[in-house]
Symmetry: C2
Subunit: 450 residues, 2 copies
Amino acid sequence: MNDMDYFFNPRSIAVIGVSKNPGKIGSIIFQNLFESGYKGSFYPVNPNADSVFGRKCYASVKEIENDIDMAVVAIPAGGAAQAVRDCAEKGVKACIVVTAGFSEIGKIEAENDLVAAAGGMRMLGPNVIGVYDAYTGVDTVFNARYRQGRPGKGGIAFISQSGAFGAAVMDWCVNEGIGLSRFASIGNRADVDEADLLEYLSMDESTKVIALYLEGAKNGRRFYEKLKEASSKKPVIVIKSGKSREGGRVAMSHTGSLAGSAQVYSGAFRQAGAIEAVTSEELFDFAKAATLPKMKSGSVQIITNGGGFGVIATDAVVENGLKLAEMSRETVEKIKVCVTEFATVGNPTDLTGNSTAGMYEAAIAGALEDKSVGAVMVVLLLQVSALESSVVDVIARSAASGKPVVVCSTGGEFTDAHKKLLEEGGVPVYPTPERAVRALKALAILSKTI
Amino acid sequence: MNDMDYFFNPRSIAVIGVSKNPGKIGSIIFQNLFESGYKGSFYPVNPNADSVFGRKCYASVKEIENDIDMAVVAIPAGGAAQAVRDCAEKGVKACIVVTAGFSEIGKIEAENDLVAAAGGMRMLGPNVIGVYDAYTGVDTVFNARYRQGRPGKGGIAFISQSGAFGAAVMDWCVNEGIGLSRFASIGNRADVDEADLLEYLSMDESTKVIALYLEGAKNGRRFYEKLKEASSKKPVIVIKSGKSREGGRVAMSHTGSLAGSAQVYSGAFRQAGAIEAVTSEELFDFAKAATLPKMKSGSVQIITNGGGFGVIATDAVVENGLKLAEMSRETVEKIKVCVTEFATVGNPTDLTGNSTAGMYEAAIAGALEDKSVGAVMVVLLLQVSALESSVVDVIARSAASGKPVVVCSTGGEFTDAHKKLLEEGGVPVYPTPERAVRALKALAILSKTI
């Protein structure tokens, strides 16, 4: 069993700092374990209460009768070291210190005390929102669930040096229908850092792709090695903030990390075989595409039902160094008999506002069977009248073809409902052609076709 | 009265091609006029019906007893020229031909017939979804309302050469809470073109900003002149697609327009004083920012409650050639007494996860009063527990300060509800710091501060 398993898949959890006030951080974490489907045992610790939320409360973690795999420390900074020491003495395997007020505000000695108290016990934090695991139900994220959703099961693991960035992106994922495998915020990294998690997640079966938000590596050499190792096993997408001199200064005061030179990082990412996201949107734009089958060629077939989006998509394919696939005459003829007479079959194939699910089916199937096509980009505008909702199933089925299919869909409420179904069916959906194509470019790089 | 007024503010409308089948294009347009709050008279025309939707139906527009300001032609291409001729003979002032199947599929003669039939009457189309006016209720967009929303009243006018692009973006606007003044899709531009509309909208009081999606200008010289004229009166944001050789070829077959050289267009936009959007998201990202007061300096104050977003925003400010504002010592001290002890007051000001509406109020008010601050960018992460919903009012009130305020907010359902309220309160909201800062850069260019 890897050390990190105790964070994501512990058999028992103690939450230190659960109060009768349900709005307190420790209380939210304790309630999470009821709501998240966590199957193990979990215990509240608070010396000032006999019971909380209908459970017997323990004065110290050491008083719990059973073994504890993982403990969460959610008490003010002053008492954190003692709580960590108690955990170590109890034989707890791993602990998460969510409490802030350590090296990030200059209190380096207090953080060193935590490390000393932990002894050999693995520690995540301090200054973290901790761990969320969609498969095991571990959830130490202390934002109330009505304010921040928890993503469903999926193939993307997400490591964030910033807790707030992690929370906001998880919340966004829920709305979009994007699933996660495991999430960890790493904060001050007094012990566990991004390298530990890269190593662990690279071997994790539920994780198909790793997304990483980084302000600066804790240990440059080890990070590079673990990034390279992980990238050889599965796609890793990294965004590095604090690239400007000014941004680096802010990162220093945020998580106490040395941001370092942007060029050095970009070069290291490339050499390690990871994909760098330049904007925060790209992190998940790329991660979603990276869950797809590899591209056998960099040739993209565009299928649209809006001419303008076809033009924008065509520009984007060319500008991103991808190629426009050229389907064979046979394929074109085969598709032509199945679509409206107003359609243009070519690249783009424009099914026009008269498009139906059947026409999409013919156009996508034809393209996927054609040798010249490395990936299919579907523009799906659901505003038009004749297009049935079953087009969602048509596209989701095509995702099993062994070739990557991405969708661009722009719109409002009706569109969003369909986008979410597509995402939940494993099809990445993007709000604009440009973002869809940039994601395909990232996939092409991972596929070594450009 | 400007010719174009007959399209956006007609006293009476005839819809030619209303059938008993409610799913037909003409029927949807006719129903729109019931649902949109249009105050004028409107009449259905169809030689094969005595009445439709409870209204007397006319065999020809010429049989309508009253004067008709505007007619919509929604019948198959074969009969369109005759319908247009009838309109001209009746003395109709303006007509919209939504019917497709003309020059965009090579039928140039058929399109010339339309122009001849119109005589001097102004004609929008063919091959358009036509006009939507949030103020007068004119709505010839033939997508059912459950599939495509209609934006509320706002200050952005939107001209789209592509109907599908226009429809998708309008639908998206509804979801985001973005209001429009007037919308027109210009399609094949047999008569009315982007230059006519630029001229009209530049003088339109409800329109504060003009957003234009263009594949290619119909008449380069006239377009440039009208663009320059319009840009001298209010901000104009343009996106030009069909920039690549391949994209230009697709644009040719889509709306029959010569795409022309990307550099020539970019140069012309810049010289005319318009702002070019490079991606389709930027069109409205920039248009929203352009509704704000001008920036007196290019110095941005960042106020955040998430450290990571502060780092990303700082990078973005520097990378986009803007400056980080340096608030005076007095301002800093004034803010400090109103915020949590864990906060960093500076640039960024980080209110941390303990942030409240009151802290945002103090930080924003302080920044807006400080001479060094040209614009305020607020990062608002609503996942955290202590932050009250009243922060929306705090920010919306600050928008009346005379300095631009933009918001970045990332998240799910809870966040989206608040974002929409902010947009409806006139505050532009962006999903990432990078997009918020790029929009501020566009505003800085319009303000001639960078």
